[in-house]
Symmetry: C2
Subunit: 200 residues, 2 copies
DNA sequence: CAGCCAACGCAACTGTGAGTTGCGATGACG
DNA sequence: CGTCATCGCAACTCACAGTTGCGTTGGCTG
């Protein structure tokens, strides 16, 4: 009975990573409805039963893939200039959402996978974490006199990113740099007008 | 060879309506992935083959249900006060989105059904129509000196409704009256700051 | 009111993919 | 070099998409 790593040792880790990656790719291509476990297995160069040994069903597989992909944490830059930082932060987010990791995750949001309770809580947690990060940056901006006191970081973040998700999920339009810059400008103007105070 | 109504005469119209309604309801409940044609038929009190006689497959049925539901047109009020009108318009939209018609449609947006080409074009058309309606109201406000010249109606509309869809599709949070009022105030402030000009 | 015909119900199919089981092959590690 | 977990494989069951042929019904027409 020797200590042997975290339960799932061996080379299985490579299999796990490959299957999750294949699942995200297929998810981005065709959505959750037409996600076939057999197709995932084949794409990963693995047999169907191997997938079922690690994940009991589609739901577990997809959930795991989301949790794995959404663990990417990246914050808002802090150069002392809140206007430039928010603009750059939104641009970075837009690029990430259009990248190899963000794209499948957004596709999953706009998919029936978004209904799974585990995915729902992952979404909320993801957003809460980013709001927490934004909170620090907003507090610094308030201290520097660049934003009015009482600005709600969550409201600011929502105003900032809402147009991006509208384009991605509803109108299916590409997100341009101009969109990003405008979103940042709108959010900042709203904050300075005192419109982004905490909810009553 | 007597004229006999529009091809599908008889009482079939009632069947059609019932099936479409059942489809929307089940779609709102469980999404597109788990939408069973047999379940739709059973819920509508109709046999499976009857459904297939009218719609060749799931895609056609869902598409038809969307087109039927999204035909609801409602505009922006015009009392002469653009601030109050936008606020009331957003509130009305929020209520509609939470109602018996809007709820299934939003559920479809956040579902794999949103990938279907016909549904995609329906979404875009729906948005374009509402933008056209908004365009008139915005032009009137500009003429009344309540908004700066060059305000892009589409940009204003996007800023206006983006927070609603963010709540509904991403954070799964309820849309409150406070959210609506803030969205209207933010959009108006941005427009008056000259941030909602047309894209370059 | 009688009869026709379209719309509907029904049963029986095929095909695909989810999820399961038992067993044999293999590769990493002691 | 032997052990054992991991993986490949074939063969299932089950549910549902989609199809076919035929019997039944209900409304419209003559």
């Amino acid at each position: 009975m020797t200590a042997r790593g975290p339960a799932t040792g061996r080379r299985g880790a490579a299999v796990r990573a490959g299957v999750l990656r294949s699942a995200l790719e297929l998810l981005a291509d065709s959505g959750y409805a037409s996600l076939s476990m057999e197709a995932v297995a084949e794409r990963a160069g693995v047999h169907k039963t191997t997938v079922y040994r690690r994940w009991s069903n589609r739901e577990a597989l997809v959930t795991d893939a989301v949790l794995e992909g959404s663990s990417t944490e990246f914050g808002i830059p802090d150069t002392g200039d809140i206007d430039a930082d928010l603009r750059d932060g939104v641009r970075a987010l837009a690029r990430w959402l259009d990248g190899p990791v963000g794209r499948p995750l957004v596709a999953m949001l706009a998919s029936d996978a978004g209904r799974l309770p585990a995915v729902q809580s992952a979404k909320r947690r993801f957003f809460a974490e980013r709001a927490a990060v934004a909170s620090d940056r907003v507090a610094a901006a308030v201290a520097a006199g660049q934003l009015p006191a009482g600005t709600d970081p969550t409201a600011l973040l929502s105003t900032l990113v809402a147009p991006l998700y509208l384009n991605l999920l509803v109108t299916s339009a590409p997100v341009t740099d101009h969109d990003c810059d405008r979103a940042a400008a709108v959010a900042l103007t709203a904050a300075r007008a005192g419109l982004l105070g905490p909810a009553p």
